[in-house]
Amino acid sequence: MADPTLVNGQITDRVTNSGEKEMSEEKNLTSNIVQQPEEPGEKNTRRTFLAIAGVAGLGYAAAMAYPIYRYLASPEEAAMNATAVTEVTLKDAQKLPAGSVLMFKFGSSPAMLIHHTDPAREWISMTAVCTHLGCTVQYEPQADRIHCACHGGVYNPYTGANVSGPPPKPLKLFKVAVNEADVKVSRA
């Protein structure tokens, strides 16, 4: 401390000052209650001021928070726009050999195009996101099933139906149109 007496002097000064202030305020309050139970005008201006200040403060905070929220939410918004995709064109996918699979992105999530050997239901496309906890599933041609390695879920590779294991719902099918130069996959 540079000068303890100075500091002490200030402290005692201030404490007594504020003590006196509090007391006098209390006196005013009691005298108000006794003599004038209500002072509506004064009360209203104080309340109005606090309300306006509160609203302005909230508005200010919101004006600061909004750009930050939008900034942080940017990728999410981009992903939302991507899910609005209704059709994906897979160039040269018509050359996919029978009994194999092509993984692709439908919007922002993985999907698969399976070229089955069965000519009656040759081309099947469905989402590749397991309905259980969101792992990416895989097509197993030897076992003729779709399998999720995370928790052992099994789906039917033709209908997407959940066959066994934990998945609660089937995989959603897409519409497939095979053309000369590409395969178009769209929402069913």
């Binding site: 540079a2 500091v7 002097g9 200030q10 201030r14 504020s18 930050i68 939008r70 900034y71 939410a73």
Partner: protein
């Protein structure tokens, strides 16, 4: 139990373990001198506020920034693809400049109020270290977008340590991560900017603030000369704190205005084969030493000028740092006056060389 007794028993429980009431008692007793120069007391607080803004906007930028080879592309994304990314980046750049400015105002006010005198020597030294670190923050952050300007600024800036005889080239290569400014440079500047510097800056800032609590605000000599009963003060809680917060709000508004009306630009991606753009110059807070070196170089050409310039700088900075030790007591009348002249000389030199620097660009 009523709500009030629950609250007070929770407070008591915490208080018993953390000693909150000691802090409250301390804060209640804290007071700030009131006099005609009290305005300058706010500048330390403003600097602190702008540093907090830097931390906050810095973390927001960190969410999308990628150092290394993708640095420019990620800053381009932040500026043009992410919603309000331009605003966050602009606020970070503007706040950086405002922070250096307010630290300088704070430093000169401390200097002329002679607040470095006993027992506040460590406050002065830690403050100077913080200013030094702030300029390194500025220098390292400037490269991170990896556009043309930041590339050449770093290239030129690293030529300064390279002039140190003997080990200069070694130091410059270590900083650059090779003989040229490249993606390795931006990667290590990034590590410096977001990990190393904050790790040094924050504890030092804590020390600086602790010293302010310990010694309180210094009154200028003219006020200290007054008899005790003529000195005025105001309680820190809530009076000064409220005023402090009002200054923070004003600073935030000025920052928001600057950042949105004059958004920070992003130049072309750096190209190591492209010539330096016309009118390239250092940031304003490096302009003065840059110009001084240039002027000394014009008077004393060659190696002698370079070494002479660096020597002159080192002596001046050393004298500035050591001011509490040769103008350390209240009754050093003559020395106190010389210190004032030294401060004025410093301000005039800084301003003049900065003006000349900007003048000669145009």
């Amino acid at each position: 139990m009523t709500r009030k007794t629950i609250a007070s028993s929770v407070y008591d429980w915490v208080d018993e373990r953390l000693g909150l009431s000691e802090i409250v008692a301390f804060a209640r007793h804290k007071s700030v001198p009131v006099h005609s120069q009290s305005f300058w007391y706010y500048w330390g607080g403003i600097s602190l506020f702008l540093f907090l803004i830097q931390c906050f906007t810095g973390v927001l930028l960190l969410v999308y920034y990628r150092p290394g080879a993708e640095a420019y592309e990620s800053v381009r994304q932040i500026t043009f693809s992410m919603h309000f990314g331009w605003l966050i980046r602009s606020a970070h750049s503007w706040s950086a400049n405002l922070m250096i400015f307010s630290i300088m105002v704070h430093m000169f006010s401390v200097f002329f109020m002679k607040a470095y005198r006993k027992p506040r020597e460590f406050g002065w030294l830690s403050g100077m270290a913080l200013l030094g670190l702030a300029t390194v923050f500025g220098f390292s952050g400037y490269l991170l977008p990896m556009d043309e300007l930041s590339y050449f600024a770093t290239k030129v800036g690293l030529e300064i340590p390279a002039t140190i005889p003997g080990i200069g080239t070694f130091i410059a290569n270590m900083l650059r991560g090779g003989p040229e400014v490249s993606e390795f440079t931006v990667q290590r500047f990034f590590a410096l900017h977001v990990v190393v510097l904050p790790a040094i800056f924050v504890p030092l800032l804590g020390f600086h603030l602790w010293l302010v609590q310990r010694h309180g605000n210094a009154a200028p000599p003219s006020v200290e000369a007054l008899p005790l009963e003529q000195r005025k003060s105001m309680p820190f809680l809530p009076n000064f704190l409220m005023k402090d917060l009002a200054m923070w709000l004003i600073s935030l508004n000025i920052l928001a205005l600057l950042a949105s009306v004059f958004p920070w630009t992003l130049g072309k991606q750096f190209d190591p084969l492209a010539p330096a753009p016309l009118g390239i110059h250092p940031e304003w807070y490096f302009m003065s030493p840059f110009e001084m070196l240039k002027l000394i170089g014009a008077v004393l050409p060659g190696m002698i000028g370079e070494i002479g310039g660096i020597l002159l700088f080192s002596v001046a900075i050393l004298l500035w740092l050591l001011i509490p030790f040769y103008d350390g007591s209240r009754d050093s009348g003559k020395r106190g006056r010389y210190a004032n002249y030294f401060g004025l000389l410093a301000i005039i030199t800084l301003l003049a060389t900065t003006v000349i620097g900007y003048w000669t660009i145009k």
